[in-house]
Amino acid sequence: MLDKWKLREVIVLSVLAVVFAVVYLVFVQFGNVLYGMLGLIGYDLIFGIWFIVSIIAAYIIRKPGAAFLSETIAAAIEVMIGNAVGPRLILSGMIQGIGAEAVFAATKWNNYRTWVLIAAGMGSSVTSFIWGYFISGYAAFSPGYVTAMFFVRLISGALLAGLLGKWLSESLAKTGALSSFPIGKEIKRGKSDNGITA
């Protein structure tokens, strides 16, 4: 999978993962506050933020594996810098990454329109929920509550990963830092939809 990648792309991927690993750790604290106020569903409200690197990496690098690898590496780095969830988190990262990657794979890694990015964020919501169902024992909760959690997480994935990820990537492209990537060229040509102001 990685043989077709340039070293430049691999390092950019890793650096994105490092930055978002820090963001993810900060959001764990934020999540805990919501969790304390609302119970388990508090996490689902902001769960989408934990998928954002998949969307950003895939949107920028546009190669098979970008969504999966970035999320996995971000999880691994989170473990290294001190998320006490530990090595299990790497597995969670892989599972979240697979959800987004599956959506990009369905478009043969050719389509990076807004709806695909949103669907990819929701894809991560679905896989992460199935994993959570098993590992966190959601079976012990009432079905109504579990269903509510699922839909909240789905919306969170669409907005906080899909839309926010797209917006951040495009803001970044406007600085010119991504000029050697397809997204940078798109922005330069003004082909991308210009709903966002710099």
């Binding site: 990685l2 070293l7 820090v22 001190g82 010119g176 830092a177």
Partner: protein, 259 residues
């Protein structure tokens, strides 16, 4: 014998497999016993001070309490269970109480296993081991190591941006849209700087002859011996023995075979 000496990949595998096995059980005793043995092993064979351990562990006690609370309030009542307490539509059965307690305990047992790994493993050795034992491509492994080295640089840049904002008198964000604008003001320059640095690093690595070839040699070799597999077997045995003891005292629960 120290826990630091075991192979990092096998240590990580052990933790993940133990977590998966523990997820089958829905009684509080099995995770509690595993937690006790794991914590003891961390103190004795990991030479980790109790203070350091409890500092990292205590946030999870809070999480476990909320988990128990959620599982109690939104518990699934199954017919034929012993009712402890009813209040309006809210029914608390003995079984659901036990399940809630077990989910809280589960969080804590997972944490103790994770801490055992984290407090006795160096990140660089973990990556070297992943490359040498799990065939992680060197391109990716060294990419991650380079990225990891960026952390202090990113922190430094963050401080610079913050000071720059302060000097120019940027007001504190209050409303949600201001907060979002603030997020962008920090995130975009930080990411742009990081990506530019990443491209320079890649160029530097390639100019020094890094090809990412899998058949490379390692200065720091990390090996696997029977001791590592004994470590693996020991911890799986701990989980199974915990379940056995729990069964002996009549606590063991497998979620009634329903999912």
């Amino acid at each position: 014998m120290l826990l630091h000496e075991f192979n990092p990949s096998i240590k990580a595998l052990t933790v993940v497999v133990c977590v998966l096995v523990l997820s089958i059980f829905f009684d509080p005793v099995t995770p509690f016993l595993t937690l006790a043995v794991t914590a003891a092993a961390t103190f004795i064979f990991g030479r980790v001070s109790f203070r350091r351990w409890i500092l990292l562990f205590s946030p999870f006690i809070f999480m476990a309490l909320i988990y128990i609370w959620s599982a109690l309030v939104f518990s699934k009542a199954i017919e034929g269970e012993t009712i402890l307490w009813t209040w309006g539509i809210f029914t608390l059965t003995e079984e659901s109480f036990q399940r809630a307690l077990s989910l809280g305990m589960r969080v804590l047992s997972f944490t103790s296993l994770s801490l055992l790994f984290m407090l006795t493993t160096k990140p660089a050795e973990f990556l070297l081991s992943l490359m040498q034992q799990c065939r992680l491509p060197p391109k990716l492994a060294y990419g991650i190591m380079a990225g990891y080295r960026f952390l202090p640089l990113i922190k430094e840049e963050f401080d610079i941006i913050r000071n720059a904002h302060r000097i120019r008198g940027v007001p504190k964000a209050r409303t949600l849209s201001e907060k979002l604008a603030e997020l962008k003001r920090y995130a975009v320059p930080l990411l742009a700087g990081a990506i530019r640095k990443a491209e320079r690093t890649a160029m530097a690595m390639e100019s020094k002859g890094f090809t990412g070839d899998r058949n490379r040699e390692f200065y720091h070799k990390i090996s696997v011996s029977w001791k590592d597999w004994a470590f693996f077997a020991f911890f799986i045995a701990v989980v199974l023995a915990s379940a056995y003891v729990s069964w002996l005292f009549g606590f063991l629960q497998l979620y009634n075979g329903k999912l």
